[in-house]
């Protein structure tokens, strides 16, 4: 089977949905969203807690409700969606791309498109990535998998829980498992500060008296069929465990919330260059990757903490893709964005002179009474004081106009 579209969006989660609707709003009709699961919505579908949409819709929604808002916008439009469909390869040709799709309903599809939008999201880092010593029993899983089992399938993976990592999913699951009658014995975090949002520390841990062990790690997993206990140790300044202060907790499950990685295997296969820090594609101000006509947005580009910003970013990417389809515009003048003191990354890594720009960035470590600066050469073009700033909170800053003659943009904290 073959197909011919103007824009093909890989991923039907919040990023893909927002990009599709934006493309449509900007005059593109022939749009296809492919989604590998059996329904649209992506990871939002298992996030049944609330707190979504405060910025975007000025109301507090659950994940599925937030997804529903976008799915409803598709109704009555010409946007086509294919679920149970996996993109297996993107082939870049001179004026178009061919995407090979495997669809449960229609078999193998060769889809020609002018534009590809990468919106595949991210995956969780797992036990293998952090090489926790010990046995390999049942009961050790990522927090996201546990969330799926509990919220979408209705099964609890355990009753006595330890959570390693204080990422948002882990915090949300600490509360969720408690609500379902489990005892969450500890949340263990390697860093001296939490990995998730402060509001989640307060609402998911403190409200339920769940202890958070900062600067601690798990040094052993025991049990052969099922996990029976873990060793927890404080770490010294070289991140080595202090043996003498190790303690043991009995448990029947260990959930891992140790970070998210943009899922770019498909992008890499197509020749998209990735940023070493974010793990996402390198993009210009139009969200376009090094491959002309291939765009990226949402968690596949960099991991967000709020879906609202995913939607906003993806709408901008959709608009840029629409412009590209109409004019085949290629950005010529680019000013490099460099990060300095205490800033881990800023996206995009280039800005366009004479135009407004939005930078998304994260700091390396928590800081207090500090100022975030953006300079175009020696000229300050953005400045904002922060009483407290955390790595868990992505900063989005708007620059009204990037100076015409600037040679370099510099983002730093002071």
């Amino acid at each position: 089977m073959t197909k011919n579209v103007d824009a093909l969006i890989i991923g039907g989660g919040p990023a893909g949905l927002a990009a599709a609707i934006s493309l449509k709003k900007n005059g593109i009709d022939n749009i296809l969203i492919v989604e590998r699961e059996d329904c649209l919505g992506g990871i939002l579908l298992q996030c049944i807690h609330n707190g979504f949409g405060l910025h975007r819709f000025k109301e507090e929604l659950t994940g599925p409700e937030y997804a529903e808002k976008y799915i409803e916008m598709l109704e009555g439009t010409t946007i086509e969606t294919m679920t149970n469909t996996c993109a297996i390869e993107i082939v870049n040709e001179e004026n178009s791309k061919t995407v090979y799709l495997m669809s449960e309903k229609s078999g193998l599809i060769e889809a020609k498109t002018k534009v590809v939008i990468l919106a595949m999201g991210c995956r969780e880092r797992n036990r293998g990535n952090i090489a926790i010593p010990g046995t390999r029993p049942a009961g050790v899983m990522t927090a996201g998998l546990a969330q799926k089992l509990v919220n979408r399938y209705g099964y609890m993976p355990g009753k006595e829980v330890v959570i390693l990592g204080s990422g948002d999913i882990g915090l949300i699951m600490a509360r969720r498992m408690t609500w379902e009658g489990a005892k969450v014995k500890a949340v263990v975090e390697l860093q001296p500060y939490p990995g998730g949002l402060n509001r989640n520390i307060a609402q998911c841990l403190n409200d339920y008296n769940i202890p958070l062990y900062l600067s601690h790690t798990i040094t052993a997993i025991r049990g052969n069929s099922r996990i029976t206990e873990v060793d927890i140790a404080p770490i010294n300044e070289y991140k080595e465990p202090k043996k003498e202060d190790t303690f043991t907790l009995k448990c029947d499950s260990l959930l891992l919330s140790v970070g998210l990685l943009p899922e770019n295997e498909l992008s890499q296969l197509a020749g998209v260059n990735l940023d070493r820090v974010t793990g996402g594609p390198l993009i210009d101000t139009n969200y376009m990757t090094n491959i002309s006509g291939v765009f990226a947005c949402g968690n596949v580009l960099h991991v967000h903490d709020l879906v609202d910003w995913v939607s906003e970013e993806s709408e901008a990417a959709g608009k840029a893709a629409a412009d590209y389809i109409r004019n085949q515009t290629i950005q010529k003048n680019k000013i490099a964005v460099r990060v300095g003191n205490l800033v881990r990354y800023a996206l995009p890594t280039v800005l366009e002179p004479g135009k407004p720009g939005i930078l998304s960035l994260r700091v390396i470590a928590p800081a207090e009474n500090t100022t975030l600066y953006v300079k175009a050469d020696d000229e300050i073009i953005y400045k904002k004081g922060h009483k407290k700033i955390f790595p868990s909170e992505m900063q989005r800053i708007e620059i009204k106009e990037v100076p015409q003659k600037a040679k370099m943009i510099h983002v730093y904290l002071e």
């Binding site: 590998r36 495997m102 995956r123 969780e124 293998g128 090489a131 390999r136 049942a138 990522t142 069929s225």
Partner: protein
């Protein structure tokens, strides 16, 4: 009588499975008793997957006797059973004059064992063959007949072919008692209360072969687990090396190696530490350090940040026998040992199997070749996957038109379709680990983060096992044991 056999093989690792398959060529009634929920779940699944050329084994040992003949049998076995096997060759690398002398010793040992086509090669040739080897290398012993294999797939293919030819496999059957009946037959009792009888017992119980032998009063050997930690790297790292890279060995181990796998990713390890606990399957911080320190000396670009998973294997090393294999008849008539089969047991397994069959024959069991023995293993789905990997999309599209299960990707890290999962389940793999080993679903970089629930759904649909009873590797390892809907957690 039900559960009465001529030969019962205890243990279904590569040794037990090889013996059962060898016996299945003859008109003999054979059963295998395996204590785990799937075959190869003990020592075999954690094997490094190397088919050794044979220069490591000392002249005069059983190891030396079986390793080269075993190696030679793999081409035909691979042809018949279609498990992944490639003769990549192995290099034992030397970094100084002392190590160069060690190479000489092993070259001579290889000659004694009749290892073919070996060569002592110089620095330039090593680096030409393997550009990622540390440029400080001084020379190497090269043996082109060494190969790599997927150990559990080898075991699965042997077992399923043996079953197709009439062998009965009993899983979750831990032997707890062996006695002799008045008619001279062995009587075997398993933990779940089942009883089996047989004329002959082949003890291929790996780590537990000493305990099985004790049931019939044989106490002249003991098995000490020699622990090996292995670390698997992301396939993104690419083909760092083509051949198996060995260091010069120490007295207890062949040393830490850098191993290409038939599936693509590079593996490093294993450590070698004698331990007491046969249930100690834990990786350690020290093991990780040790493996990478040694591996990086040979291939400097091997990095801990590329680890996607790690595991432990316990080699069943025999004490009381100079560490050699314990193979053949015992003081108890009809009780035959295939015990203490540590490295190079995988390589030797086909030759050991043939030998054990001859021993049983000599002990008085008459056997004729079966006229309708089918040496081929039936496999469809996993073959089809290669089309996808080789981007033969139009061909694949044709297959998908006929069977929609080929178009449902279950594991996207390794491109495993529903068709393969179903095939594995119908082949008898009913745990998540069993399905993982049979199909590769969940072995990739996300380590089953996404496909776990999908595989559980298919397993439930195919077998009717309730969702809450689906296990990782047998009873006691349920993935999601508590249904919320039915009253929730107390």
């Amino acid at each position: 009588m039900k559960n009465d056999f001529q030969v019962i093989v205890i243990g279904c690792g590569v040794v037990g499975a090889s013996i059962a398959r060898e016996l299945s060529r003859f008109d003999v009634k054979v059963a295998i008793l395996e204590k785990e929920a799937d075959v190869s779940f003990g020592t075999s699944k954690a094997n490094s997957g190397i088919i050794h050329a044979g220069f490591h084994s000392t002249k005069g040992t059983l190891m030396a006797r079986f390793v080269v003949p075993g190696n030679r049998k793999f081409d035909r076995l691979c042809d018949e059973l279609e498990f992944p096997f490639e003769r990549r060759g192995e290099l034992m690398v030397a970094f100084d004059d002392n190590e160069l002398r060690i190479l000489q010793t092993y070259y001579k040992m290889g000659l004694d064992n009749k290892v073919p086509y070996m060569d002592l090669i110089g620095k330039e040739r090593v680096l030409e063959m393997e550009p990622n080897v540390n440029p400080e290398v001084e020379g190497a012993l090269y043996a082109p007949t060494a190969g790599i294999i997927c150990p559990y797939e080898y075991c699965f293919s042997l077992t399923s072919n043996a079953q197709e030819n009439g062998v009965e496999l009993f899983l979750n059957k831990k032997v707890t008692w062996i006695g002799k009946q008045g008619n001279g037959k062995f009587e075997i009792e398993t933990e779940d209360g089942s009883r089996f009888t047989s004329d002959y017992i082949v003890n291929a119980a790996g780590l537990y072969s000493d305990e099985i032998a004790k049931y019939v009063g044989i106490t002249n050997f003991r098995i000490v687990p020699r622990k090996g930690e292995e670390y698997l790297l992301d396939r993104r790292v690419g083909k760092l090396i083509h051949r198996v890279i060995f260091p010069c060995p120490t007295s207890t181990s062949k040393g830490m190696l850098v191993i290409p796998t038939v599936d693509g990713p590079v593996m490093v390890g294993p450590t070698a530490r004698d331990i007491e606990d046969k249930d100690d399957w834990a990786t350690t911080r020290d093991g990780l350090k040790e493996v990478f320190t040694h591996a990086q000396r040979m291939v400097p670009s091997v990095k801990t940040s590329d680890i996607i998973t790690s595991f432990v294997g316990l080699r069943p090393a025999a004490v009381g026998n100079n560490g050699d294999f314990i193979i053949g008849t015992t003081t108890v008539p009809g009780f035959i040992n295939a015990a203490g089969i540590q490295s190079p047991g995988l390589t030797a397994s086909p030759a050991i199997a043939e030998h054990i069959r001859e021993v049983i024959n000599k002990e008085g069991l008459r056997m004729e070749l079966k006229p309708h023995f089918n040496p081929k293993r039936r496999r469809v789905a996993s073959k089809v996957r290669h089309m996808l990997e080789n981007r033969q999309y139009s061909q694949y599209g044709e297959i998908v038109k006929k069977d929609k299960t080929y178009s449902k990707l279950v594991c996207r890290c390794e491109n495993v379709t529903e068709a393969e999962i179903v095939e594995a389940i119908r082949d008898g793999h009913t745990t998540l680990d069993g399905i993982k080993f049979a199909t590769r679903a969940g072995t990739g970089r996300c380590q089953a983060g996404f496909c776990t629930t999908r595989v559980m759904e298919i397993l439930h649909k195919e077998t009717g096992i309730p969702f809450e009873q689906i296990t990782k590797k047998g009873k006691g390892s349920e993935i999601a044991p508590y249904p919320i809907k039915k009253g929730g957690v107390e």
